[in-house]
């Protein structure tokens, strides 16, 4: 059985064979180094095996990484991490308009009182004038 590991890179909409290894670990190490360099939007390591006796081949992906995968992994890690930030302070509720309503009552009462007093004064003056 002959086995090789190919690094495939995806760029500008095209997959290309980048290099060939006979060692899976070395291929994955190199794929991860290339991934960190950030030149490609996706990288994968494909195992290609060929059985000379049966003349049958097989292909399977043994490592894959895309920028989307990386972003998703980082987001998942952030979600898993315990919160180490203090909870935000409670928002200060704006005071309801109770005071304004009271003030309105006072102003209204004073106004009505003043009108009543003025009415009484007018009636007294008319009464004195007529009398």
């Amino acid at each position: 059985m002959m086995v090789v590991f190919e690094i495939h890179t995806f760029r500008d909409g095209v997959w290309k064979i980048d290099s060939v290894f006979d060692d899976k670990e070395l291929a994955v190490v190199e794929a991860q180094r290339m991934e960190r360099a950030g030149r490609y939007s996706a990288i994968r390591v494909v195992e290609e095996s060929f059985d000379e006796a049966t003349e049958r081949g097989n292909t399977r992906t043994v490592y894959r990484s895309t920028k989307v995968d990386r972003t998703n992994t980082e987001s998942a890690e952030r979600r898993k991490a315990p919160p180490n930030i203090a909870p935000p302070p409670r928002p200060i509720k704006p005071k309801k308009a109770k005071a304004s309503f009271t003030q309105l009552l006072i102003v209204t009462s004073l106004t009505l009182g003043a009108i009543a007093l003025a009415g009484i004064g007018i009636m007294y003056a008319l009464h004195s004038f007529v009398g």
Binding site: S19, D23, E30, R33, M34
Partner: protein, 158 residues
């Protein structure tokens, strides 16, 4: 592309691969004349070059390390005349794979060389192109560790 050699990477084949990518830039393959020994002084002794790789491959350069491992200087030898039970012979034996896929290929393994040493080796062949259309030369690199003969598990030729 990793762009430049990572100073923390110690494996020869990955450092050579980094160097090859830097030489290639946006090209598919570097030109043979862009290989500058002065830019790879720490690796040059482990390197060799194969010219006329498709028609009549021959060793156009052999580093001192390989001369020592070979037991003589095989520079200028036709590919067919290089002893396959040597480090450089094993390391260049999969030239056809590089020419078929036009990409770097790295293989390694164990074998007993012509001097009776058990060798654990790792090698790489890196395609070069003069015209940017066809791979017509190869930069190779390899190093090894000598094993106790009892340790050696013979691998077939790559």
């Amino acid at each position: 592309m990793t762009g430049e050699i990572n100073p923390r990477e110690r494996r020869l084949v990955l450092r050579l691969l980094d160097h090859w990518r830097a030489m290639a830039g946006e090209l598919d393959w570097p030109r043979p004349d862009s290989v500058e020994p002065a830019a790879m002084t720490d690796m040059w002794t482990f390197c060799f070059m194969i010219d006329d790789a498709r028609a009549a491959p021959r060793l156009s350069y052999v580093g001192d390390y390989h001369k020592e491992m070979y037991g003589s200087d095989p520079t200028g030898l036709a590919f067919a005349d290089v002893n396959s039970d040597t480090l450089i012979g094993r390391s260049a034996s999969y030239l056809k794979d590089v020419l078929a896929k036009n990409v770097p290929v790295t293989y390694g393994g164990q074998f007993v060389d012509i001097h009776g040493n058990g060798l654990l080796y790792r090698s790489i062949l890196l395609p070069l192109s003069t015209d940017g259309k066809t791979v017509n030369a190869v930069l190779g690199g390899a190093n090894c560790r000598i094993l106790d003969l009892g340790e050696v598990v013979e691998n077939p030729l790559p």
